[in-house]
């Protein structure tokens, strides 16, 4: 069996979260690879939208940024951002959004703004982009991030993208649509329980429960029927390496 990288596993696992009739707001990097993998396997009709305003993109090669011309050429439609965010995202026309983040808490609230104090930050991160809107307005958000205590603290320094805020009921009260669906890391896959709290569903091969607990900043819950994450198949690995990212821009290097 072919050896795979953590990133390849995360791509393959994220692809499984997508259904054939989903419309997804795609980010560059791992989400883009996951969406394109899903499109070439079980979800050929997946509709890909980018926050730059390209609707139904059909990229002929891996886009280098969310504003790559390859996303506009041959797209279904291209619209101004007022429309992409207003008529598509805010209007509830996007099922799935992908988010990353420097910090993620137990309710799936994400920080991609600052580490430390907002007005005098230790690290100034890029900020929201469309993440706050994606988190607020899609039906399901899929969070992808490396697993570490630093990334999964008890509390985030700034809520860039609201998850369940203070719990599932709280999000609903605030009038926010949907919510976080899954968190996929290099160690495990988490879903959210009835209260909206993150719960480990499956652990990747060669990772232990203790590893995950150790790499999480709070006393994380484990599902009673904890699984091992299914590794990427030969087909998935071949597609990623030969067609989706032949130059290893996103998938090389962590092997």
């Amino acid at each position: 069996m072919t050896a795979y990288t953590d990133t390849e596993l995360m791509i393959a696992r994220a692809a499984q979260e997508l259904e054939n009739d989903d419309t997804t707001l795609v980010g560059v990097g791992v989400p883009n690879l996951a969406c394109n993998l899903a499109k070439r396997t079980h979800a050929p009709d997946l509709e890909m939208i980018y926050e730059s305003g390209t609707i139904g993109s059909n990229p002929s090669r891996l886009p280098l940024s969310i504003g790559d011309p390859v996303l506009a050429t041959n797209a279904r439609s291209v619209v101004p951002m007022t429309k992409g965010f207003g008529y598509y995202l805010q209007a509830g026309r996007i099922d799935v959004g992908f988010l990353g983040g420097a910090q993620i808490d137990r309710w799936g609230n994400i920080n991609s703004t600052v580490i430390g104090d907002y007005d005098d930050p230790t690290v100034r991160l890029p900020g929201s982009g469309g993440a706050c809107e994606i988190a607020s307005n899609t039906d399901r958000t899929i969070i992808i991030a490396p697993h570490s205590r630093r990334r999964f603290p008890p509390e985030v320094d700034f809520v860039t993208s609201p998850g369940y805020v203070g719990g599932r009921d709280n999000r609903a009260e605030l009038g926010l649509r949907g919510g976080p669906e899954a968190v996929i890391t290099d160690m495990a896959v988490m879903h959210f329980d009835d209260d909206g709290e993150m719960t480990v569903d499956s652990i990747h091969p060669d990772v232990s429960k203790a590893d995950v607990a150790e790499a999480t900043g709070w006393d994380i819950q484990f599902a009673s029927d904890l699984d091992e994450t299914r590794p990427p198949t030969e087909d998935e690995i071949a597609l990623i390496r030969n067609e989706l990212d032949p130059d290893g821009v996103y998938t090389g290097g962590d092997d």
Binding site: T82, Q90, C132, G175
Partner: protein, 299 residues
């Protein structure tokens, strides 16, 4: 371009250089650096390399933005140096998410006191940005209250388009981002294009004229004015330049060295383009791919 910039911008003004990843007016940004502007408030959803360069050059004292990264590469190092360490000067920020920033420009374009949007509820923004406020919904349906943002009206907007006529009626295609809203929101508009074309070309397809000449104050023809970003149908993004910037901008010294050579060291975009290797430019050319025309009818 030097003349258009000199006549449009004054120190201390708020300036928007347009384009979401696409059609970024790098030539105008470099001209602003060359003319030594200071104390500008820079407005852009994505500051991108161009604002990183202007910040490093000391042109800016404030940035209004929603994503400060090197798109597809990493972080903006000069931007971070200014915020984290005050190098070369302190930089104040006014920060939104994309839709918030775009909505502010839309409110400016429509002259509305505010625009509502379904963002910010449950987020940390309202605690740190007093411009984001809540308004009660006067109807029984739906939420009790919703976030609103006030209008943003740049003193000057510099926008690029693929083609325009001499009146500044511009055809844009591909990703237009928030450019049109910003042009309508701004007091003064500088339009820079890949090529000036006959008025008949523009008038043959009025639905594509997103920026009318009536809101444009200066029109400049400047081929490759968006390099190293791109112009759909004309040239691709020069990704090597974006990757290299990550190294160039690693220290303030290496950044200013680059500015000396590529900005101060040339007298305008023509010299900048001449300085690029021919092969590098040729590699950016896409194959031709024309749209099927429409029939407007002769009425």
């Amino acid at each position: 371009m030097d003349d258009a910039i000199a006549r449009s911008i004054e120190d201390g003004q708020s300036v928007y250089l347009g384009g979401f990843t696409h059609l970024i007016p790098f030539a105008a940004g470099h001209e602003i650096i060359r003319q030594g502007y200071q104390d500008l408030t820079l407005i852009r959803a994505t500051p991108d390399l161009i604002y990183d360069q202007m910040i490093a050059a000391g042109c800016a004292s404030a940035v209004t933005f929603s994503y400060a990264g090197n798109p597809g590469v990493g972080s903006l190092r000069a931007f971070r140096r200014a915020i984290e360490d005050g190098v070369p000067n302190e930089l104040s920020i006014d920060e939104y998410s994309h839709f918030g920033l775009v909505s502010r420009l839309e409110a400016g374009a429509k002259d509305l006191p505010f625009v509502p949007l379904r963002s910010y509820v449950g987020s940390g923004y309202p605690d740190h940005n007093d411009s984001i406020r809540m308004v009660a919904n006067p109807y029984d349906d739906d939420v009790d209250e919703i976030a609103v943002v006030p209008p943003l009206r740049p003193d000057v907007a510099v926008v690029r388009a693929q083609r325009a006529d001499d009146e500044g009626n511009a055809h844009l295609w591909g990703i237009t981002g928030e450019m049109v809203e910003a042009a309508f929101a701004a007091d003064t508009v500088v339009l820079s294009v890949e090529e000036l074309v006959d008025r008949d070309v523009i008038r043959s397809d009025p639905n594509r004229t997103a920026i009318p000449g009536t809101i444009v104050d200066h029109v400049v023809e400047e081929p490759y004015g968006s390099h190293p970003s791109y112009a759909q149908g004309y040239y691709d993004r020069d990704n090597v330049a974006y990757l290299e910037w990550d190294e160039i901008s690693e220290t303030h010294e290496s950044t200013t060295e680059w500015l000396s050579e590529w900005v101060h060291g040339v007298d305008g975009r023509r010299e900048y383009v001449a300085k690029l290797e021919t092969e590098r430019l040729l590699d950016l050319q896409p194959r031709t791919n024309f749209s099927t025309p429409i029939d407007m009818g002769e009425y």
